[in-house]
């Protein structure tokens, strides 16, 4: 609460992403394999290897496989499935789900798409028959990994944490940072530095900018 600036947090784990959240914007930019159900005129210019050629008005034929970002796929997806049908990426399918249930701690979630939980939660909008399994798998994976994140974030004071966060996805890294901040704030309070007035992080750069202006 002593922050000068409150960022809009990610809503991806809830029912809908937050419009103004930068984390959600980055997350929904990740690509998703889809299959078109109807021919799409004139989009062939973007996907040259899929288009039907200039005689069919550069259309993408029905049934072709594309990779679209999540925001585009969500916008075009319709309950009656007229335009697109979405395939689940590999990491949310049966094979990887058994890997997660075996031991969630050893998986490198950063490599699996740095927004594993957020993207997975938003995937549930596409009404796949495996939705219940996907949500269970997301939940159990998080439960399995949470203990280690909490422990490491609360006990790594003043050291290089890159080895600890390397395998965490973005949401877990956020949690880790919150834990570290709590730890640092507490140590700061113990040393009595909490009552010292410091420059707000919003204006810390101002002095530097004025200096270079004077030099010019």
């Amino acid at each position: 609460m002593s922050e000068a600036y409150f960022r809009v947090e990610s809503g991806a784990l809830g029912p809908e992403e937050n419009f103004l959240s930068l984390d959600d914007i980055l997350m929904s930019h990740e690509k998703l394999p889809v299959r078109t159900e109807i021919p799409m005129p004139r989009l062939g210019a973007f996907f040259l290897d899929r288009s039907g050629g200039s005689e069919t008005d550069n259309a993408i034929p029905q049934g072709s496989k594309l990779e679209l970002p999540l925001w585009l796929a969500k916008g075009l997806f319709d309950n009656k499935r007229r335009i697109l049908s979405v395939e689940l990426p590999k990491i949310y399918q049966e094979g990887w789900r058994t890997v997660f249930s075996a031991d969630a701690n050893v998986v490198d979630l950063h490599k699996m798409g740095p927004h594993f939980y957020g993207f997975g939660s938003q995937l549930l909008h596409f009404d796949s028959p495996e939705n219940a399994d996907i949500s269970q798998s997301l939940l159990q994976t998080f439960i399995g990994r949470f203990r280690r994140i909490m422990d490491s974030s609360q006990n790594a004071y003043n050291e290089d944490t890159s080895a600890l966060v390397a395998r965490l996805d973005e949401m877990e890294r956020g949690l880790f940072q919150t834990g570290q901040k709590g730890l640092n704030d507490f140590q700061c309070w113990e040393k009595g530095q909490a009552s010292q007035i410091t420059a707000s992080n919003l204006v810390q750069n101002y002095k530097k900018r004025k200096f270079t202006d004077m030099e010019d």
Partner: protein, 224 residues
């Protein structure tokens, strides 16, 4: 300590329509309760401007008395410390409210617009002015930085949809002050069904905020 040592008037009347008389100790207690409730509730609670005004009055009285009383450094510095602590609680309470206003401003202003006549407001007059100014400033800023450069049919942003709503489903810890019976709890997952619980006085629970929101407003439970 406040009532004996400093000759402060032991009675303080509420500025509102009811003539509730509180001792300073009770007033500070009420302030601390309002402060904790505000800190842990996910949404902006009712404004307690009577408590705020009374506390400010009390602090002014105490300062007056301290200036007059010059005998014995120790008593003066202890009272000064107490005043600092009360001042901190008060400003922390107001800061928490301002943070929530900034975070949820379109929804708070919308609720204020559609509020019924008898319902209590969640904003004091100053806070309402602040919220309106914040909204105008944000709209102007978004318009000048981005929206006026967009194609004409995209130049509107609906702040009610863009700004996230307070999450009333978040879990809060609470202590029960008055016994409650037959509280309906909604299921978390599809497999559970609604069930009914009783809250014993003095017991502590972890429960979704939505279920107990009216109890917080009436003072029957205390968030911890």
């Amino acid at each position: 300590m406040m009532t004996e040592e400093l000759d402060v008037s032991g009675q303080d009347s509420d500025g509102g329509s009811e003539e509730v008389v509180l001792t300073p100790a009770e007033l500070i207690d009420r302030l601390e309760q309002a402060w904790m409730n505000e800190k842990f509730a996910p949404e902006l609670l009712e404004t307690k401007s009577e408590i705020v005004e009374c506390v400010i009055e009390q602090l002014d009285h105490m300062e007056e008395n301290l200036r007059r009383a010059k005998k014995g450094d120790l008593k003066v510095s202890i009272h000064q410390m107490e005043m600092e602590r009360i001042r901190y609680v008060l400003s922390s309470y107001l800061r928490c409210r301002l943070m929530k206003i900034e975070k949820f401003f379109p929804h708070i202003l919308e609720k204020e617009k559609t509020r019924g006549e008898g319902e209590p407001s969640s904003l004091s007059p100053e806070e309402f002015a602040f919220a309106k100014e914040y909204m105008t400033n944000t709209e102007t800023y978004l318009k000048n930085v981005a929206l006026k450069h967009m194609p004409p049919n995209l130049q509107k942003v609906d702040l009610l949809k863009a700004v996230p709503k307070p999450d009333l489903d978040s879990y809060v810890f609470l202590r029960v002050k008055e016994r409650q019976e037959n509280l309906l709890v909604e299921p978390e997952t599809d497999e559970q069904r609604d069930y009914v619980i009783d809250l014993e006085e003095g017991s502590q629970h972890l429960i979704r905020y939505k279920t107990i929101a009216p109890l917080v407003a009436s003072g029957a439970v205390q968030l911890i």
